[in-house]
C-alpha cells in the first residue's frame, strides 16, 4: 500500500457498513482510530510504510457495531461516507465518523490480506 506522492493511489478495498449504536446519549461505532497528517507516522504499528499518514483502526471493542460489521484491527480507512480519509487530520477523521445526523457509516477499508486474496483469485483461472 505504499503510495508515491503525486501518483494516484490504488488499493483493493472492502466496503463495510456500520450501523451506529445508541449508548445513552451518544452514537458509537465501537472502534478506535489512530493516524492523520498531523500525527507521527513512525508510531503506527499497523502500517507497512512508516511514512503512511492515513487513518488506521487501532482497537475494536468486541461485540460492538464495527466488530459485527466486519471491521478488523489494523485496517486502513480510505473513505467514510464518500469523504476521503487518506489525507486528513486526526480530528477531521473523527468528525466525519461521529456526525450525529448520520446513523450509518459506509467505510472503504483496505488491508494487506485483501491484496493477497485478489492475487490468489486472479492467479487461479
Amino acid at each position: 500500500m505504499a503510495f508515491v506522492p503525486g501518483q494516484p493511489v490504488t488499493a483493493v478495498v472492502e466496503r463495510i457498513e456500520i450501523q451506529k449504536l445508541f449508548q445513552g446519549e451518544n452514537l458509537i461505532l465501537g472502534f478506535s482510530i489512530g493516524g492523520g497528517i498531523d500525527q507521527d507516522p513512525g508510531q503506527n504499528p499497523f502500517s507497512e510504510d512508516k511514512a503512511d499518514k492515513g487513518i488506521y483502526v487501532t482497537r475494536i471493542s468486541p461485540g460492538g457495531p464495527a466488530d459485527v460489521a466486519g471491521l478488523r484491527i489494523g485496517d486502513k480507512i480510505m473513505q467514510v461516507n464518500g469523504w476521503d480519509m487518506t489525507m486528513v487530520t486526526h480530528d477531521h477523521a473523527r468528525k466525519k465518523l461521529t456526525k450525529k445526523s448520520e446513523h450509518v457509516v459506509r467505510l472503504l477499508v483496505t488491508r494487506k490480506s485483501l491484496e493477497e486474496v485478489v492475487k490468489h483469485s486472479m492467479g487461479r483461472p
Binding site: 472502534f31 489512530g34 508510531q43 473523527r94
Partner: protein
Amino acid sequence: MDNDSQYSGYSYKSSHSRSSRKHRDRRDRHRSKSRDSSSRGDKSVTIQTPGEPLLDAESTRGDDRDDNWGETTTVVTGTSEHSISNEDLTRATKDLEDSTPLQCKRFVGPVLGGCLSFFALITPLAFLILPQVLWRDDLDTCGTPCEGLYVSLAFKLLVLLISSWALFLRPPRATLPRFFVFRCLLMVLVFLFVASYWLFYGVRVLEPREKDYRGIVEYAASLVDALLFIQYLALVLLEVRHLQPAFCLKVVRSADGASKFYNVGHLSIQRAAVWVLDRYYSDFPVYNPALLNLPKSILSKKMTGFKVYSLDENTTNNSTGQSRAMIAAAARRRDNSHNEYYYEEAEMERRIRKRKARLVVAVEEAFTHIKRLHKDEATSSPKHPREEMDPREAAQAIFAPMARAMQKYLRTTRQQAFHSMESIISHLQFCITHNMTPKAFLERYLTPGPTMQYQQQTGGGRQWTLVSEEPVTSALRQGLVFSLRRLDFSLVVTVTPLPFLRLGEEFIDPKSHKFVMRLQSETSV
C-alpha cells in the same frame, strides 16, 4: 458655581527665592491686565446654555485672546453688568491671597541650615588660625607632620564643600507643614558637635594657651573627619533610605477618578505627599472640570419624583417613611436615562471624530503652504521673489486656514479653556522651527496632556493641603490613607505594603531541550 478655579485659581506662590521674584513681577503685571480685560468681557451679551455653566465661566477669562478668531463666541455672566457676580467675588478673593508677600517661613529652614554649615566649615580654620594669631611666639614649631596634616585638612574641607554644595545647596521644592524630622535631627547633631568641639577648644586650648600646635592641628582634623561622617549620615538619611521601594501608593483624583499606582520607599507622610505631587504633575491628565458631570438634561428626569401624601393622623414616623417610599417608588419606576446617556455619548463621540477629521485635514493642508528655505536657495531668480518670513510670521500666515477647525474641535472636546489663540500660534511657531509634521503639532491638542504641560499659562507655586488623620511626620505604614486637597478636587492616597517576595531557583540544563512528535493519539468513535 465658583468653580472657575482650575487655572485662574492656582495660587501664585512660587517655590524659588530669587528667581521667583522675577516670575512674580511678570505674573503680577499679567494678572492685572487679565483682571481689566475680564471685567470688560463681563459686560458683553449673555446667552446661557443649560448644563454648561463651568464651561462658559472659563471663557470670561478673555485675557489675551481675541474673541473673534474663528467665529464669535458667547460669554456668560450670572448677573447684570452693574453687580458683582459670584465669579468676580471668588476671583477677587483669590487674587487677594495671591498677592500676599512671600512667606518668611519658607526661608527659615534653609537660612538656618546655611548658617550652621558655614559655621561648621569655618571652625577648623578658626582652630588653626587662632593660636597663630594670638600667641604665635609661644608655639612649638612643627614641621613636616603638620604640613602633611594641613594638606589632608585642605582636601577634606574641599570635599566637604563640594559635597555640601551638591547635596544641600539646592533650592527647596516644597514647604512642608511640619518639621522635616531628619533634617532637624541632623542640624541639631551638627550644632552639638561643633558646640562641643568649641567648648573643648575654649577650655583646653585658648585658656591655658596650649603650646603643642601639632595637637591642635590634629584636633581640627578630627573635627573635619567628624563633619564628613555627619555628612555621610545626612546622605543616607535624606537621600538614600527612601530609594528602596517598600510601599505601593494608590493615588486617585476625587473629581474624575483618574488613578495611578506608585512604588515608594520608607518616607514620612509629608515627604510622601511631596513625592506624589511631583509625579502628579507629569503623570495625571489635566483636570478638566468641563468634562465631569452628566448633562443636566439626563439627570433632571430623576428630580421629578412622586409626591407622597400620608393620610395618617399621627406624624411621628413621617419623614423616614416618606423618603423611603419615594426612593422605592423611584427605583420601581422604569427610567430610561441610561438610554439617553448612551445615545448622548455615542453622539458626542461621533461629533468629536468628525471635528477631529476636519481639523487634521485642515492642519495638513495648512502645513503644505510653507516650506523651509535653505541657505543655498536664498538667492533665487528675480522672476519669483520670495518673501522670507521668520517663524512667527510663518506661523501667523498658516494659522488662518486652520483656525476655525481648531476652535471647533477645542470646543467640542471642552479644551478651549486651556488653549488661547496666542498659545496655539506660539506652539505652531515652535513646531515650524523644529521641522515637526502636522501630526506632531496636533499631538498637543488631540490628547489631554499632563498638568505640567499647561503650567506656563498660570505659572507659579501651588498650594496643596495635606489632610490626614495621623500626624504628618509619622512614617508610612499599611492601611494609611491621606489626601491632598486643592480648591476643587483632591487626591486620595492609600498605602499598601509591597508583598514580600520569595524567590526560588530552578536550573535548566541547556542540553535538556529535546522535542519529539506527538504520540499517535487514539480516538474512539
